[in-house]
Symmetry: C2
Subunit: 259 residues, 2 copies
């Protein structure tokens, strides 16, 4: 294994559950010699990739912030998921879209249509959509953490259609079912004749959005529904890989069970 690879692989041991690691712990985890680990850490430290906290631990350094900002400016998340959404729409024959939390709002970041039918659910760029009334919004509420969810459900929950859930207790029950299944579903919750399925997306630390497929109610069948769910799982894996994010192990287990 090359020297550069050894050094970079040390960085991979840092995670959100273990953001600080000591020299001896890294030695054990990596299987490298302690002198080797020390020297590699020193090189990484000189370039700002790690920094030492106190006398007994290392953590990731500020250089990664600068590079991430350049990467983000170069390849905005929207652009790099477009190909994945195009494939998702081709696979399912329906409209796909991706929504992301931006502050207190859920914003449609990207979408794709399929040419498979003369009609399709129509999307709008940068549309702000409600959390409680959409499949993407419900996926986010289910997985973005209790504080976020409580804040959302404490705000007014207007009805957009006769089928919009507006009772916080009812919505919480649905969120429980979404957490149990790993995906969300909205039938006419935001637009009367639209049936949507969605799964949550995570960056390295938290749920930050969701990816969905929307179909006219009249076109949804049990077979299409199953195909959409499987395709959403694949798309979510691809998107978080591109984003440098993660999918919680328990969520992936739910997805395996659902296919």
């Amino acid at each position: 294994m090359g020297t550069v690879s050894k050094a970079l692989s040390l960085l991979d041991f840092f995670s959100r559950s273990q953001p600080e690691i000591g020299l001896s712990e890294l030695t054990r985890a990596s299987g490298l010699n302690k002198a080797t680990v020390y020297r590699l850490l020193s090189d990484l430290q000189i370039h700002g990739f790690v920094e030492q906290t106190g006398a007994r631990a290392y953590r990731l350094g500020p250089a990664v912030l600068r590079l991430a900002a350049i990467r983000e400016a170069t390849v905005p998340m929207r652009q790099i998921v477009q190909a994945t959404l195009d494939r998702l729409s081709d696979t399912t024959g329906e409209t796909s879209h991706l929504a992301q939390i931006q502050g207190d709002r859920l914003v449609t970041l990207a979408y794709a249509y399929s040419p498979a039918h003369g009609t399709a659910v129509r999307m709008e760029d940068a549309a702000v959509t409600p959390f409680h009334a959409t499949a993407t919004g419900l996926a986010v509420l289910a997985f973005a953490g209790p504080a976020f969810c409580d804040r959302r459900l404490a705000q007014p929950l207007p009805a957009f259609t006769p089928d919009t859930p507006t009772d916080p207790a009812d919505i919480r029950a649905r969120l429980g079912r979404i957490r149990a299944s790993g995906y969300s579903e909205s039938v006419g919750g935001f637009e009367a004749d639209v049936h949507s399925l969605a799964v949550p997306l995570f960056d390295a630390t938290a749920c930050i959005g969701a990816v969905a497929v929307a179909t006219p109610k009249s076109r949804m069948t049990p077979a299409l529904r199953a195909r959409i769910i499987a395709a959403l799982f694949d798309a979510a894996h691809d998107i978080v890989a591109l984003w440098g994010g993660f999918l919680p192990d328990e969520l992936q287990r739910l997805w395996v069970d659902a296919v």
Copy 2:
């Protein structure tokens, strides 16, 4: 120069003005042999630190996003600037604070008091402050780009004191002077007896906030004002270094001229 240092130093050539670089260009810029650069890029690519775009250029890869997210979760910006704000307040004997753009708002992220006097300008955690009426807000308006500035000035500009600037043309003139001097000043613009000075802060791509010192009007003197301005420049350097950001060269020239 060690192999790991060579590889990491290649990453430093990527910038917001040059986010994509070819193999031969990197060879010229780094002074290394093309075969060496190629092999180092391959190692970086295997670990996700760079990726190839098309056939002729490389750019930073998704691994930096994951590491930056871990770093951000570990060391939130607020925590790491607190020590700098403490020193800024000690140096000036007055209240210092840092505000950051969050969507369409300016939010106080951190602040520090000085024990030098019995009275001090009081701050609030997570306070949302107006752009047009505060020194931090004016610093951000001046340096955050015309689109951002136009959007802000197109919104209502309420008066908080008789000294609040509310005429967009007047504010634009002030912003011109701020750009010429490199720092902003508000005298009673938001609270009647507060005199504040601020400088903008940048991440790797844009102005994202400002750092300020606020003093009761009655305590400001020419000597204190000069000391505050110099201390703000030092604090800004420290903060953007911690954040993996940058300060535009022309802004630093203005600051050198102002001291």
